[in-house]
């Protein structure tokens, strides 16, 4: 099962996981009123002393076995130490003892997914969202899990090589136990919010009270909507950060690379997938005739090489950006260098091209 599922999700991944990478925080958050032991352990982690931090927490937990934050921190340290089985047990115990906290479910899901057990990951994330329907990271992870499961099912449908070691989804661990989940996505987009509020003093006690009553779960069966409406879905909650956050810039750079790679490998469908449904072709072409033209141009040469260098990203607003870069194009005998400008929008499935022009 495990190895079966770790299959080729490369193409599914390229659009999505770029936006979803919230790297595992190197330093654990220092809670306002965390127990001194947790603070000490976090300081040790910051210095790279993982074993010391683990010992400190073990000692503390021996006398206060129910401290959720200490247990949560311990789980994160176990992850860093690659002690996955123990980490899973730690987070699983937390979900059992504190089912109202979404974070342990999320992290449990990430670990299951790392092991290739996407079905378990899915149940854990759905549980996280059952308690906190608006949890953006869980939503985003769940989207990736669904995509991973979709890819696995697809491979089984067509009996493709399941053991092909492809790129795994990079899911986001939540590195702090935060009694207050971020506000619902709709609110978040309207008024970009800074990083999540500081952890509350007593996360466990506070959690139930802070379940946002208003944040009703999204309807289970939305009416069929065209792709561009995906921007309204929870999956993009995280894009509501400050304009051109580092994560966005990295995502756009990666998207450029992937776009150029799809073009170079003449994978027309993958290449076209980087264009938003709202894409406006130059020279008054219709989308359809543009697409036909591109299909022809991209697939015809026997070889294409597209290189992208020195991209400059400027933000337009929370979900729109512009990137300028040097493009060097070589197809068969033709070579061309140009400065290209792409207008981008962040959709539910990553950054997509709205306009493409040469400066």
């Amino acid at each position: 099962m495990k190895s079966n599922l770790s299959s080729t999700f490369k193409s599914a991944c390229k659009a999505s996981c770029l936006t979803a990478i919230i790297s595992f925080a190197g330093v654990l958050p220092i809670a306002a009123v965390a127990s001194p032991a947790v603070e000490e352990a976090q300081a040790m982690v910051a210095k790279g002393d993982l074993d010391g931090a683990l010992k400190r927490l073990d000692k503390y937990l021996a006398s206060s076995p129910q401290d959720a934050e200490a247990r949560f921190s311990r789980g994160l340290i176990l992850v860093k130490l690659n002690k996955t089985t123990e980490a899973i047990k730690t987070f699983a115990d937390l979900t059992r003892d504190y089912p109202q906290l979404p974070e342990p479910y999320n992290n449990l899901a990430v670990l299951y997914a790392q092991q290739g057990d996407y079905e378990k990951a899915r149940s854990a994330l759905e549980a996280a969202l059952a308690t906190h329907p608006s949890y953006a990271t869980a939503h985003e992870n769940l989207g990736d899990i669904y995509a991973a499961l979709a890819g696995a099912a697809y491979n089984r449908a067509l009996s493709l090589d399941q053991n092909n070691q492809g790129v795994r989804y990079k899911l986001s661990l939540i590195s702090q136990l935060n009694g207050t989940p971020p506000p619902p996505p709709a609110v978040a987009r309207a008024a970009p919010v800074a990083p999540p509020a500081a952890p509350v003093a007593a996360p466990v006690a506070a959690a139930p009270a802070s379940v946002p009553v208003a944040a009703a779960p999204p309807p289970e069966t939305a009416a069929p909507a065209p792709a561009h409406a995906a921007a309204a879905e929870p999956a993009v909650a995280d894009t509501a950060t400050a304009p051109v956050a580092a994560a966005d810039e990295a995502a756009i750079d990666a998207m450029l690379e992937a776009w150029a790679a799809a073009w170079s490998s003449q994978d027309v469908d993958a290449y076209l997938a980087y264009y938003s449904p709202n894409f406006k072709p130059e020279q008054g072409l219709t989308r359809e005739s543009w697409e036909t033209l591109r299909r022809d141009r991209v697939s015809k040469p026997s070889q294409i090489s597209v290189k992208v260098s020195s991209p400059q990203v400027t933000a337009v607003d929370a979900t729109h950006a512009q990137v300028t870069f040097a493009q060097s194009y070589r197809a068969d005998k033709l070579t061309d260098k140009a400065t290209k400008v792409l207008d981008l929008e962040n959709t539910g499935s990553g950054w997509k091209i709205l306009r493409e022009s040469v400066r």
Binding site: E126, Y146, G151, S349
Partner: protein, 408 residues
């Protein structure tokens, strides 16, 4: 709306254009596996589960569809069509436009799976109405507990039970037929025959290449009618599928009828070797049973008249029941009494009993009926029992006459 939603889903391609909302019901992995087992125990067939899921998709209950497909794919991981539907539903749910790692190389297989979808799901919308019976079966002897009827135009194999002359569809299976369809004429034409057959033996899968799955029932193609009409070929079987798949595309065999392994094994309980009729029909019409009454009475009275002519040794009258282009099994064009020499010695009328009569409207052929019965008579205290097959054909003057016959 019903159709278009499904069409967007499977039939017309794979644009994953919907980012659906995310459900929040938790189901632990063990609970769902238990549910999958429960389905199997409850006798819900994998295909029925698929229908339930499709119905849920049609009605916008995607969470139910997802759950059903999860259970189904746990239960039958090699049910590729189920995996594909599951993949698409998950991909939609992920909100990621290109979540499926599709490539051009997949298109042939995808086309086959879409075809299987069309055949399987299309079937569920055209199920025979309750109480109606296939017009192919005009009469079935009480001694035949079952008859198998393949509607080749719908890739469906029906099992009908016979309780004291009352027929009823008890099961029906998706089945794969030959690459070029049906209406086999010659060896290697990659077609499935149309006709009435029986299984000559059962060979378990263990004695066969893995390709045939759980086993095989070879059929007696070419039968008497096929041979008279110069149809050639051999090795037409009912068989299973290799272990790496739950089913095969609708048109994939070289002539055989292919079933899911569990369905093939169900047939082991049903088929009596050399007895159970296996009808391969090009198109089955389901009609009210009373619609058959007139035709049944007409043929039965002709058979009875034929029996009487034989019983009183009236050679001229006997021969009048045979068509002008009649050809016997031995190639003779002149019909003669059975045991003619013995019959010549006796003057008393024979006491001939005909029992176990089956009457079929022969598929793929206008105005042709196959009558099968057991004949039993004694001459000089020696009893003569055999199973006879007669092909009755309506002549240009409207009279039913015997075009071909065989004794077993």
């Amino acid at each position: 709306m019903r159709i278009s939603r499904r069409a967007a889903f499977v039939l017309c391609g794979f644009a994953v254009s919907q980012a659906l909302a995310i459900g929040s019901k938790e189901t632990s992995a063990s609970a769902v596996v238990a549910a999958a087992n429960a389905d199997a125990q409850a006798g819900v067939s994998p295909e029925h589960q698929l229908q339930i899921a499709v119905q849920a998709i049609d009605n916008g209950r995607d969470n139910d569809a997802l759950k059903e497909l999860f259970n189904l794919t746990q239960r039958e991981p090699n049910f590729r069509l189920a995996q594909l539907l599951y993949a698409q539903l998950l991909a939609m749910r992920s909100g990621i436009a290109d979540a499926l790692p599709m490539s051009k190389a997949d298109s042939a297989q995808l086309k086959e799976l879409r075809e299987e979808f069309r055949v399987r799901v299309g079937h569920s919308e055209r199920e025979p109405t309750a109480g109606s019976l296939p017009s192919d079966i005009v009469e079935l002897a009480n001694s035949e507990p079952y008859v198998l009827l393949a509607d080749l135009s719908r890739s469906r194999l029906y099992v009908l039970s016979n309780r004291g002359g009352r027929l009823q569809v008890v099961e029906d299976f998706y089945s794969t037929l030959a690459r070029r369809g049906f209406g086999k004429r010659s060896s290697g034409d990659l077609m499935t025959p149309v006709g009435i057959y029986r299984a000559t033996t059962f060979t378990p899968g263990s004695a066969l290449p893995a390709f045939y799955g759980a086993g095989a029932f070879p059929l007696n193609y070419p039968n008497a009618w096929d041979r008279v009409h110069g149809r050639t070929g051999y090795g037409i079987w009912l068989h299973g599928v290799p272990a790496d798949t739950y089913s095969r595309p609708p048109r994939a065999s070289e002539g055989c009828l292919v079933l899911a392994n569990e369905d093939l094994l169900r047939l082991k309980q049903i088929i009596h070797i050399d007895e159970t009729p296996v009808i391969f029909s090009d198109h089955v019409d389901w009609v009210p049973p009373e619609r058959q009454a007139a035709r049944r009475a007409e043929i039965k009275s002709r058979i009875e008249a034929w029996r009487e002519a034989w019983a009183k040794h009236d050679s001229a009258e006997y021969q009048s029941f045979y068509a002008r282009d009649f050809r016997g099994n031995d190639g003779s064009s002149k019909p003669h009494f059975d045991d003619a020499k013995l019959l010549a010695k006796t003057t008393t009328p024979l006491d001939i009993h005909l029992t176990g009569l089956n009457l079929f409207a022969y598929p793929g052929q206008q105005d042709l009926m196959l009558a099968q019965f057991t004949q039993d008579y004694s001459i000089d205290n020696v009893s003569h029992i055999s199973r006879r097959e007669q092909y009755w054909q309506r002549q240009s003057n409207g009279r039913w006459k015997i075009a071909h016959e065989e004794n077993h």
